[in-house]
Subunit: 375 residues, 4 copies
């Protein structure tokens, strides 16, 4: 079997998660190409060597540009802070590499579009890490919506709330730097918008509001000095979809008590779906027309009828975990590069997500509705 | 409309609950007879007068025997401690009164049988306050079982657990006196056994275990002196039903954190039901043969399709409460006395419940299986 | 005990619910005044007589104006369609009666203000039937917010979704007549806005969106002819509270599968609350600073520590129902008229709710943010 | 790093699961020894070669005896049907190999004891695949019990119910052969008993009941011929723990609608724990003494405070899956072989589990209580 040589940029949490995912994908699935850990780039040569040893990469470099251009690398996998995605991706694309990049793709929509344009011009394939779309329950939800089982969609309520920034003692970091794009809206809202688009379709107008809840934070952990913060801790928007449905989306990283509330309820003319990633193996489905006295939401639990659950476990109800979604994502990358699957979600899709984010930011700043015009 | 004159014995919590229920029944339902609060008996004349004023009874007495024999009374309603049920009921029956009595009916099965025999010989109607059977969700569960929607019943798991005796500082009271019959098994287990019989049928053999968890308690609230306790705080039994199904029943009044866990799961050959009184307006139903990938338990919420919910509220999902079950029970008493409904559950049924309780006690004492032979 | 003579206008579902509530209040609580069912008005004399017989009123009339002016009536209780609230209330106020009126108070805010002004000028007490505020869990939530247990409120997410208008075969009715005020926003949104104000405080700006999902309906049940509908079936708004918190509110009466989803999550700087009326006896509470590894939302169940639960049942966890909230409301009306409690929520409060509704309507029509200025 | 050479016997579902787990463990954890896939044995040489290719083993054999004796193998990993565990384990032990074996360890307790004795005599380490004990929530539950946070344990209610044998069309297989030991009691009950012992301690007496629900099944899938079945589909027992607590355990593989209900509630004198593997990342905890009006069960969600969750994901609430428990088990095997952790649960522990199973079988056959005497 031909191998797929991966060049990973970034050895932090997400770099490790990608490495785990590629290994797990090779073990769980019958892949058309074997992932090979060719090279890793980190901030310095020394760090990169440590990361290579730790994650099992053959080569290491402190210079990501050399990785991006390395002839042995098939796929450049970018897991660095958001601000670096664009130069890295463009360099990789220029070298003719396929690119797999973490979300959000770029600080602003214009950046994302330039990246998508470049990739398409170069004829390389791209992937963005919207891992929650890879949950088999998301595919199930989409099947249910598309099949018309709940009729025409009339409402979408979506939330992505976590609390990892709720503590005012959590210090400044790159996520709080406006140059990296918005705060909670970018980090969590991007997941939610990708999900909304996946399930309901294009968003054509928004009216949004952004808030900074914790207005100053230590310059670094434990330091007495603080700096002012004005990135959004909370974002909300009313949205209109192209198909006429309306909805609400919310993102927060200061939602006390919530650790993984990526939740939605989709109401249709003949039924409804409700989901929260907090119970990621369950999807609630309601359809009209049930027998009198027997009417209710049912709770579907993930099983082999919801591919690729069965590749992980042959028994229903035994549950996938967070890392398994990333494993499915890694499989999808490999299969797309082997030509047996579409490359999706790609940079073009990530640009669409980013356009909605930008529109919410503009709407919040201008305090008015914003149309998202054809690209 | 002809009125139904009620003679209430006992002005405590349950006496008040019965009075509330009769009033509410008259307001909520179109009753065939109007309940009239004729007379109340309490421990002394003075207490009885206060209770009468408080609950709205026309007359009062400190002598329950005079109430039981009073010519103006149609129905004797007994809400006193368990130990008193038998003499009171027998006196009322001897005077030709219909009798409505709280559960458990009597300390031991022999007492209950004597009461049932006497009532039948006298041709009076009897009622026992197994109020949880009056929840529309219980009727729904029974309909589902009887209709065969879940196939043949193969297992019943039942629990009635509360924590009102969990605190060792809770003092001795009549419930802890062996002369009143068993402890948690009698007080809560009787509800559960009544439910099991209602939903699955006769229990024909048991193997049980009783435990005293709090082995001494203050002689009265706040008193430093304690007395030894050997009533059961926890009871469990494996049971066999006449229809071949097996099961487990458990009762506890020391179940920390549980306040109303009257819960069951019934497994059938083609489906299952799950319920807990903690969410008394919901019944979970599973049936085999659902569409692939759409398989799951559904949560049915109480509504007008589950009579008599609609008499309380025309809108589904708005929820009944604990007192509403007692209101339905009061309606059933009145309708049965007017001849428009069967008197049920009656003393005969309560005797059947008591026989199971007795069998569990014997089984626990003798450490062996006990058959419940034909009465 | 002095009695309180009630004059009820309207014998439909809500009229009956009020009558039930007054009866139940008298049975459950020790009231300072005894409610007396003096008189009922319905569309015709004949109807009114039937209603009087059914609900137990002493007198009946087909002319609500005579009831409003009747010297024997202390409290005029209005349960008619929204459009009639204003003339009825003003007539009663002019006659010096206290007024208890169903929600929403009036079609538009100006009407509500006129009603509040008139009542205050006349020195009569007023009450509006926002019954969900009477749930002991709502009082608990408010106590938690006010005490600072969850810190400063930073977000409010509120939903009131039901599905009683989801079926396109449901015919036109007065609720769909624009003269009655908005649709779902008025009928359900008013409950939600009252709750938001109760828990978080004044709303000072909104940006909203209204949608008609079912755009034509039969002129009456089963009739083949339809008429165009443009009342809102769905409403959503982003809101800003006076205390700086932001939030989202949504109302829908076409939410398939939802029958009583009056739900909210309140996020504070040190905790959170989550509630849904679908499980009206439970409130979820999260606070920061729990022991490591022991962190989580707790589920508080209603009990005697949450007054006036204990008046209904001395045992915790046994559950109140929908009607019990109305019973508490009736108690509050009677106690306020006896001077032992503030009259609340009154017409002034209902006007505040209505102002938010009006602002959402204006915002939706003008597609812009609307400030709610000082009254 | 020194490697650990694994010889796997069995290439079915569990064989693959073990291979996945060793690979994942190497990726997720910093292991003291690197697992090396030395050799695999399957029913024939050909099958074994295919399995080796599929799972990545260096060598293959159709003769498990040669694997068990192979000098290059450090650990013999047995994933074959139950009946084969004993001869395979004894052969491996005789060759001085450490042994990792799936559960249940053997058909009957005597077999298990012989295996444990042999291993101890040979000085090799042993492991049994009770994977649910490896869930971080199980460790948390045990910590809570041991620390006394819920006081003295007074009750254990345990269930392991699934429905994979509910369909009568499911054919005969080795699990239904009495020579393999009991049915549901062995396959699922063994997990539950291991959990009960882990959390509460030794079980000293039982009274049990076994039932065959589906009494005949096709001889093989789709075949019209059937054979009589008398293995237990359902098992229940009342149990007594050495520490005085009582309890109930139930196992069923015909529990319609249940796919992974390994559930327990542990009641203590000052609190309670409730868990179901259906929501494997949540543990419910109740403790007495909470503030008035703030009393309730809390739901703890798995996070980095519950090791080794943090090795999988640094963010709390993101959820582990079924396979992750097996990965933790594989880590424990490797660390125990490197001497940095105790080998547990081992054959001795599995024998203790099996003794309880045997006692339930005997109790059911003899219809009486059975003491489990000192080994």
């Amino acid at each position: 079997m031909r191998r797929l040589s991966i060049g990973l940029i970034g050895g932090g949490f997400m770099g490790r998660a990608h490495a785990l995912a590629f290994r797990a994908a090779a073990a769980v699935f019958s892949l058309p190409r074997a992932p090979y850990f060719e090279m890793v780039a980190d901030a310095t040569d020394e760090l990169a060597r440590a990361t290579a040893a730790n994650l099992g990469f053959a080569r290491a470099t402190g210079d990501w540009r050399s990785l991006a251009a390395d002839s042995a690398v098939d796929l450049v996998d970018i897991t660095t802070p958001n601000l670096l995605h664009k130069p890295m991706a463009l360099a990789a694309i220029a070298a003719g590499k396929h690119v797999y990049c973490e979300k959000p793709l770029a600080p602003r929509a214009g950046d994302a579009r330039a990246m998508a344009d470049a990739a398409e011009a170069a004829g390389v394939k791209t992937f963005v890490g919207f891992n929650y779309l890879k949950n088999p329950m998301a595919a199930l939800a989409r099947d249910i919506v598309r099949s018309g089982e709940i009729g025409e969609v009339v409402n979408f309520r979506g939330i992505h709330a976590e609390d990892y920034m709720a503590d005012p003692a959590t210090p400044f970091s790159w996520r709080l730097d406006p140059a990296s794009g918005p705060g909670a809206l970018g980090d969590l809202g991007s997941h939610l918008i990708a999900m909304a688009r996946f399930l309901v379709g294009d968003i054509v107008s928004v009216c949004g509001q952004l808030e900074t809840v914790v207005t100053e934070r230590p310059v670094r952990a434990g330091h007495p000095e603080t700096r002012a913060i004005d990135q959004d801790d909370q974002a909300r928007a009313i949205v209109r979809f192209a198909n006429g449905a309306g909805g609400v989306i919310e993102a927060s990283w200061v939602a006390a008590g919530r650790q993984m509330q990526l939740a939605y309820e989709i109401t249709g003319s003949r039924g409804a779906l409700a989901f929260t990633q907090e119970r990621m193996n369950e999807l609630k489905l309601y359809t009209t027309g049930q027998a009198p006295g027997r009417d209710g939401f049912k709770t579907i639990t993930a099983g082999p009828d919801h591919p690729p659950y069965g590749d992980f476990c042959p028994a229903p109800g035994h549950q996938l975990g967070f890392n398994d979604m990333k494993t499915i994502e890694a499989r999808d990358v490999i299969e797309a590069l082997a030509g047996t699957r579409d490359a999706w979600p790609d940079f073009r899709e990530a640009w669409q997500v980013q356009r909605v984010i930008d529109a919410v930011m503009t709407s919040a700043a201008e305090q008015q509705w914003i149309e998202i015009t054809d690209g």
